[in-house]
Amino acid sequence: MPKTLFEKVWDTHAVRKLANGQTQLLVGTHLIHEVTSPQAFGMMRDLGLKVAMPHRTFATVDHIVPTDQVSEPYADPLADAMIKELRKSCKEFGITFFDRSTGKQGIVHIVGPEQGITQPGTTIACGDSHTSTHGAFGAIAFGIGTTQIRDVLATQTMALGKLKVRRIEVGGRLRPGVYAKDVILHIITTLGVNGGTGYAYEYAGEVFDRFSMEERMTVCNMSIEGGARAGYVNPDETTFTYLKGRPYSPKGAEWDAAIARWRAIASDPGCAYDDVVRIDAADIAPTVTWGINPGQGLPITGRIPDPAKAAAADERASIEEALAYMKLRPGAPIKGTKIDVAFLGSCTNGRLSDFQEVARFLKGRHVAPGVKAIAVPGSQGVGLLCAEMGIDKIFRDAGFEWRAAGCSMCLAMNPDKLVGDQLCASSSNRNFKGRQGSPTGRTILMSPLMVAAAAVTGAVADAREVFGVASN
């Protein structure tokens, strides 16, 4: 009986059926960060529990770290207390911590792959909804709550109901100037922000076959924005090439054995899916959001929706609420909307290839007057590579602030925040009300090159025009 990757990974990690019908699932790899774990460690202490498999939990610090200050104590005493708390808990429970002093710190979803900890055929959990990122390697990876972090620390397992699997095939070729970020924004705009509830998404088709690991990560990262708790791509040669030689990757004879296992874990030809969606790559344009959730998106050539033309009362109310918050005019082109801030970074688009691609076009250009532009590498490793390649200099010369690794302005639990109703062109993953740190701050999600185009023109722009990206 042919099976999907999801079923194979589930079956090899299922421990037993629980009384309520859920499965006790083994969590092969557990990743933690400073924001959602302290209460879990507190519960462990209260219950007198030990960490079951400390060698299978890895920690880093990302949400609260200032990107313009590395020395401690941090200016914010609450942030300072959080990093120290994580340091203390990791020491007490014997957990490896990629602290800022190690040179390996960064956003947890960038550090795992970079270190070779994220591997095909594994289960991965982390107290962060963007854990779906790791699915790019053919892992089943999902975000969990703090009480579940306690469960994983104490037992290396958690209670979970099996998900259905929807295959999303993107066939054909992407047009020039269209990136992985546009693919996932297009998928979410098409299927809706809750279209994936109850599903794991299997991304496939020629576009994914050709994608690099970093592009696959960008798409899997935002699965949760479409309601899917997990998203994955079947492992292939691209996956193996990426993993070879990384610190935690198998070595020598172990490597050959691992490759054989990883090949076998991919979905079998002819396996059954609960649903299949097909998308033509040629239909995907550079995509931007206009509203207050990632499903409220449109092609850069499009016009802001008019609530008066909405089909249903419910949809009309949603558009009205979004436009009132975003202060956008119905029917107007989204292109030309003035911006105040440009943010390039996050677990969605803070990897080497994101900065490399922008640097190709940014050389010799300059950020528009009045725009604050910040570029934040997703990890110390990414920052180091950018420095070695001179990419940081290209950004600085163009008028970007080049920062230290962290989540930065994606969620503003650190000093990088919007002020008042500033509008931000952002390569991050959420445009929720208040997401970027100001209760009235506004976010437009887009690809890194589109952020650069907005930065240099001072308005939402079509990167293909701004940078002369060939049209065919």
Binding site: Q24, S129, T147, A159, R435
Partner: protein, 200 residues
Amino acid sequence: MALEKITRVAGRAVHVPGNDIDTDRIIPARFMKCVTFDGLGEYLFYDMRRNADGSTKAHPLNDPRFNGASVLLSGVNFGCGSSREHAPQALQKHGIRAVIAEGFAEIFFGNSTTLGMPCVTASRVDIARIAAAVEADPATEVSIDVAGQKVSFAGQTVSVSIRDSARDALVNGRWDPIGELIEGAGDAAKVAGKLRYMMA
């Protein structure tokens, strides 16, 4: 560790209308700079309820008529976005004991169940009926029968649904799975022993 069997939740209700109410809205990230969940209740829906200067805005949770409500009514895809357990924790600390909505995001639903807070799904029409009864008389008792999957209010009854595994866990007092997971530790070690990547 015997847990309460949550078969029924009853109390006054408050309607927070809207679809896709995300966890950043339920508890803004800046209030997550904490190492305990204590005190999160006062920041529930903070930016919806307060202006930048701290003064209050018009919001159902600021309306004295709904003070003390323990059942929250809302729309589609409630709790979408971040996996932060701070969201259901903030609701609970504020005094909310159950949520009735048109639908829930996956992670929020799981987090709430694990805290013993039932999230039941009802149709738009039925939520509007409950909300209308509560608006007409805020003292209306809204009673959720978790086992029987129905809600009674003001002499009316409507059917609701909750996923089988969550219903079982709530009504049988096993919504916090830690005890059962610890019992399975031996089996877990055997499964781990068959997976090369999990070896030390």
